[in-house]
Symmetry: C2
Subunit: 313 residues, 2 copies
């Protein structure tokens, strides 16, 4: 398995990225190769600093970097030799099995659609996030920011995409799909969630359990939480801030510790022809290591092929 990693992406790149890659090289199985993409001189000097002598971490040079604040489409067009563009190029040409970056989120999303392209039949790829359950394990919530305005048909597909992910990565045979809404009863909600409810209810290939509410995020009602990217983004950032507040207050708890973004490492882009993961901008070496772990799991499960099989059938 070959996993490409944007060495230049994230607030603490390339230092934290290289360190995270070396941590992953220690943990992941022997067949995994990590390809660091970016300024080869800087990467090599960091590898040297860490006294790395192994052969599992490789370097591919990229002369340009897309900054965190740059306009995604413009940056990708103007910087064809940026680490993100080079990474997606390798993913598109199947030189690697997965690509991940803690860099510019917009560029990662746009780059996925530009390079590996969305799976035929999928209206819009989603950015997913993992929500710790009180009972253990994680639920998958999508979308968390790729698409702010979602039509009901897009949300219906998020239910399908999330189900496939939960089946193959979480090993849940019949994932329960819940629609985030402002009330439990059918008929509650917005001009978007109301028709979405009907579509999800009529969809025979998923196990729709109805509406869920903000209070159900962490309980074990649903394995797949369907929402538009606006709502998912607000929820995710709110949950992250709760974790930060608890940390500042030095309140530690096994459940809330699982809110730590570092533990999950990143958000997968689901519905494109390739395994891509976006990490948090502030990614630490631990977060980078876990992002590689996540990308590896997705590659092992051939998750993007699963979407292809389902949606192009």
């Amino acid at each position: 398995m070959k996993i490409a990693l944007d060495a230049m992406g994230g607030d603490f790149a390339p230092d934290a990225v290289v360190e995270g890659a070396l941590m992953a090289a220690e943990i992941l199985t022997d067949d995994v190769e990590i390809i660091l993409i970016g300024d080869e001189d800087r990467i090599h000097s960091l590898l040297h600093k860490h006294d790395y002598k192994g052969s599992r971490v490789k370097v591919v040079h990229a002369s340009q970097v897309i900054g965190m604040g740059e306009h995604p489409t413009k940056a990708l067009t103007q910087k064809p030799d940026s680490s993100i563009a080079v990474g997606y190029g390798m993913l598109a040409s199947k030189k690697v099995d997965a690509f991940c970056s803690a860099g510019n989120t917009g560029a990662m999303l746009v780059g996925a659609v530009f390079s590996v392209k969305q799976v035929e039949g999928i209206l819009r790829p989603a950015l997913a996030s993992f929500i710790p359950k009180l009972s253990g394990g994680y639920g998958i919530m999508l979308d968390v920011g790729a698409i702010a305005d979602c039509k009901p048909e897009i949300l219906e597909q998020f239910g399908e995409i999330g189900s496939i992910y939960a089946q193959h990565i979480f090993d849940i045979k019949k994932p329960r799909v819940g629609l985030m809404n402002l009330g439990e009863e059918e008929g509650k909600g917005t001009m978007v969630t109301q028709p979405t409810y009907k579509l999800l209810k009529e969809n025979k290939s998923i196990h729709f359990i109805g509406n869920i509410e903000g209070r159900d995020l962490f309980n074990d009602k649903a394995d797949v939480i369907v929402c538009d990217g606006f709502t998912g983004n607000v929820i995710l950032k709110l949950a992250e801030s709760i974790y930060d507040i608890l940390c500042e207050k030095k309140i530690s708890d096994p459940f809330f510790d699982r809110f730590n973004y570092e533990a999950v490492g990143g958000s997968p882009i689901l519905g494109v022809n390739g395994n891509a993961v976006i990490g948090h901008g502030v990614s630490s070496p631990t977060a980078i290591c876990n992002m590689l772990h996540l990308a590896n799991k997705m590659a092992i499960a051939h998750i993007s092929e699963k979407f292809r099989n389902y949606f192009s059938a």
Copy 2:
């Protein structure tokens, strides 16, 4: 000051409501009179049970009750002698200065518009909630569930309504208004939040500070948090669930303790010609007591007149 209280509203009514009213009678200033509306026999027997001999708690009979699960409009039409209908009748005829209930939220919202009616110039009244700040004090978030789909013009008014409330109740001279969004930059957001940003920015009567994110809910960025009722409802229920989880885990902290709905007591309906507050369905006596306290504060500040002066000018 006369405050009407729906004795039959809430999961633990009338017992918890009567007990809460008696608690408030002990605390509120001498000029406050509490009028319990509902089944007079049951109320009198509860007052007797509590050995109440004062004159500040009065009883007004209402022969009907609107259940928690009833359809608001239907119930209000079919039950003209329900405690909610009688309470709003007294508010509309100015026999009382405020009305509050922990009963059917929908019936309380519809009842407000049916009876006291929305303030001229206000497009849609909002249901507001109070968000504890880490730095102390509260912010006001609106809407939290009255209107799931909001046009930009409605959200702009929420900014104005929230500002007026924060000025007169929180005593903040120039309340900072933030728009809940999925990114800080102008131009981020949905087909609704993008044009709302422009309207709020151009509105000279409020102090708009731009977009805020889910992570900013508890920090001191904004005093007024503007969002549609769908988003506000999800946020509110999520925050409540965090408090519940911490309680279950026996983690106590002065900041998180302020998440307790009991401390605030209720959500005001803002933008109607009268002071109305909706309590949580599970309201305890303490919550009822604090709801009365909130209604009293709104009545003292003549908050609904402030809206009238502003919007009809």
